[in-house]
Amino acid sequence: MELYTTGYLDNGLGFLIAPRPGAHLIHLAAYLDHGVKDEREQENGISHLLEHVLFNPNNLTGAQGKQWQALAKSGARIEAFTGKEHTRLGLSCLPRDLPKVMAFTADLLRNPKVTKQALEHERKIVLDEIHRKRNRPEFLWTLVEEALYAPPYGMSILGPPDIVSQLNLKQMRQRALDACTPERTRLVIAGKVDSSTVRLIEEHFEDWSAPPLHTEYRPVEIVPQLIGVPSRSERVTLYLSCPGPALGDPDRPAAEVFGALFGGGLRSRMFQRLREERQLAYAAQGGSSHWRRSGYLFMAVDLARERVPEAFRTLMELIQEVQDSPPGEEETDETREGFALKALQESEGPGLATKLAQHWLNDEVYFPTRAARMYRQVSAADVKAAAAYLNPQQMAMVGIGLDEGELADLLEVVV
C-alpha cells in the first residue's frame, strides 16, 4: 500500500510526504515550477544560470553558508537540476537532521541571494559547460527537442553563450524573486519520514508570501525542423522525433509501450531490422519522452555516412510496416509488463521522488501501483493507436555529420 500525505499551505505551496518503510535517509526536494518554459528567447539560459548561482553550496555566504557547513559535516548532500519545466533543489540527510535541512531549504527559497561574485563565478562555469556540450556529439541529442518545438520548449536548457554572457545582476535578482515563490514550490519529502513533518513545513513556510502569479498559459508550439551539424566524420548520427502525448494524456502509457517495442533494447524492431537483419547501423534505438505539457517519440541511429540513405529508407519502411501490422497481444504483453515492473521498482529507489514531483507539479499524485496498473491495461489496440504518433510527415530531424540540405533531400525522397 502507498500512503502519502499531501496538501497545500494557504500561500499556494504544495507538499507531498511519502514515507518508505525500511528507509534510512530522508530525501527532501523543492521543485520550482520554473524552467526554460518561463524564459523569453533573449534570456534563454537564465533558469539554469540561476540554479547554479542560488544552489551551488560554494556560493553560500553568511548564515546560509554556516547552515550548509553544519549539514555537510553530518553527511548531508545537495544537488540541483534545471529542466524545461522545473528547477529542482534536492537534499538528502539523516532523519535527525530534517529540521535543519527544512530550515536551510526555507532560507534558500525565501531569501534567494544573487551576488555579483557568485554570478561571475557561475557564469564562467556555465559557459564552459555550454562549450563542452556543444562540442561533443553524445550531448547533441538534446537538439531533437530544439528541432521539434518552437521557443520556449525548443530552446536549450543551457542557453546560447552570447546570451549567458550578457545576463546581468538586475535581471538575475528579479528572476530569482519570480522563480522562488510559494505558489511555484512543491516540496516532496520521501524516505524515513512521517506525516508529522507537516508541522515542520508549516513552521518554515506558512508565513512566506509573494505577489500572486499572473503567468499566461501558452500551449506548446510544434514546428518540426531540420537541424544539421555538418562534419567530415565518416560517422553520422540521426535523431528523429514526432510529437507525442503529454505526461497526463491517457495515450501516454500506450505511447511508452509502443516506443519501447519499436526502439527499446536489442529485441526492438528498429534494432532487429537496422542492425541484425540489414547491418546498416551500429546503434539503433527509440523511445518516448513526456513532459507535463507535451511529449515526443524519438529514434536515434548511429551509422556510417554511406549507409545513411538506405538506412533512412529502411527506417521509413519499418514505420509504415509497424502501422500496417502493429505488435500483437503477445509482444505487447511482455513490454507492458516490463513497464509495470519498472514502475514498481522505482518505488523502491531514489527515482520515486522525481516521479512524485513531476506529477505533483501537475497537482496529481503518483502511485507506483496505479502506474503499474495503467501499463497492464494497455492493449494491443492501444499500441496500434499509439503507433500513429510516429508520423514521418510530421517528423523533425537532426543530423550530426550532415547539413540541413542533406536532411531535406533524405526526407523529400522518402516521405
Partner: protein
C-alpha cells in the same frame, strides 16, 4: 494577387509551391504540407526562407490538440515574379484563381488576356502594365477584401 516585396529570392519549385499554396488563404505549416503532400519540416524550412525575404508573414496560431501551430499568410501588396521557372506555376495559379472566381460568382468581366507584341515594344508595354497594377493597388484599402487576382507577366513564345 496579394503579396509583397520580392528581394532577390531564388524561387525554386518547392519554395514556389509553398508560396502559392498560401494563395488559398492562411494556413499552418502542417496544413500546407498536407495540401502539397510534403513533409512538414521541409515546408517549415521553406516558410522560414520566404519569411526572411518578406514574402510570408505570421498571423497568429491555431490550436491543434494540446499543441499550437503557427499560422502563415501572404503579406499585403504584390509579388514580382522574376524567375522564369516560376512562370508556368504562376500561370496555372491564375487560371485556377479565375476558375474559382467564376465558380463563386465573382465578376464575370475577369478573364485571361493574352496579347502578342513585337519584342522591341515588350519592355515599354510591361512598364505600362506595372504602372496599371500600381494604380489598382493604390485603390485598395490596407487589408481590403481582394476578390479577383490579376496576373501580369510577359513571356516569349517559342
Amino acid at each position: 494577387m496579394t503579396s509583397a516585396v520580392g528581394s532577390g529570392i531564388q524561387m525554386e519549385e518547392s519554395l514556389w509551391r509553398t508560396f502559392t499554396s498560401l494563395l488559398d488563404g492562411p494556413s499552418t505549416a502542417r496544413g500546407v504540407a498536407t495540401r502539397l503532400g510534403r513533409p512538414v519540416a521541409t515546408v517549415v524550412r521553406n516558410l522560414n526562407h520566404l519569411q526572411a525575404h518578406g514574402l510570408v508573414c505570421e498571423t497568429g496560431t491555431d490550436r491543434v490538440g494540446h499543441h499550437i501551430e503557427r499560422v502563415y499568410r501572404l503579406p499585403e501588396g504584390a509579388v514580382r515574379v522574376k524567375d522564369e521557372r516560376a512562370l508556368g506555376l504562376a500561370f496555372h495559379e491564375t487560371e485556377r484563381g479565375l476558375t474559382l472566381a467564376s465558380f463563386n460568382g465573382l465578376p464575370s468581366a475577369a478573364g485571361m488576356v493574352s496579347v502578342c507584341v513585337p519584342r522591341e515594344q515588350a519592355a515599354g508595354i510591361m512598364r505600362r502594365l506595372q504602372q496599371l497594377r500600381e494604380d489598382i493597388e493604390a485603390l485598395q484599402q490596407e487589408g481590403g477584401d481582394v476578390k479577383v487576382s490579376f496576373f501580369l507577366a510577359g513571356w516569349t513564345e517559342d
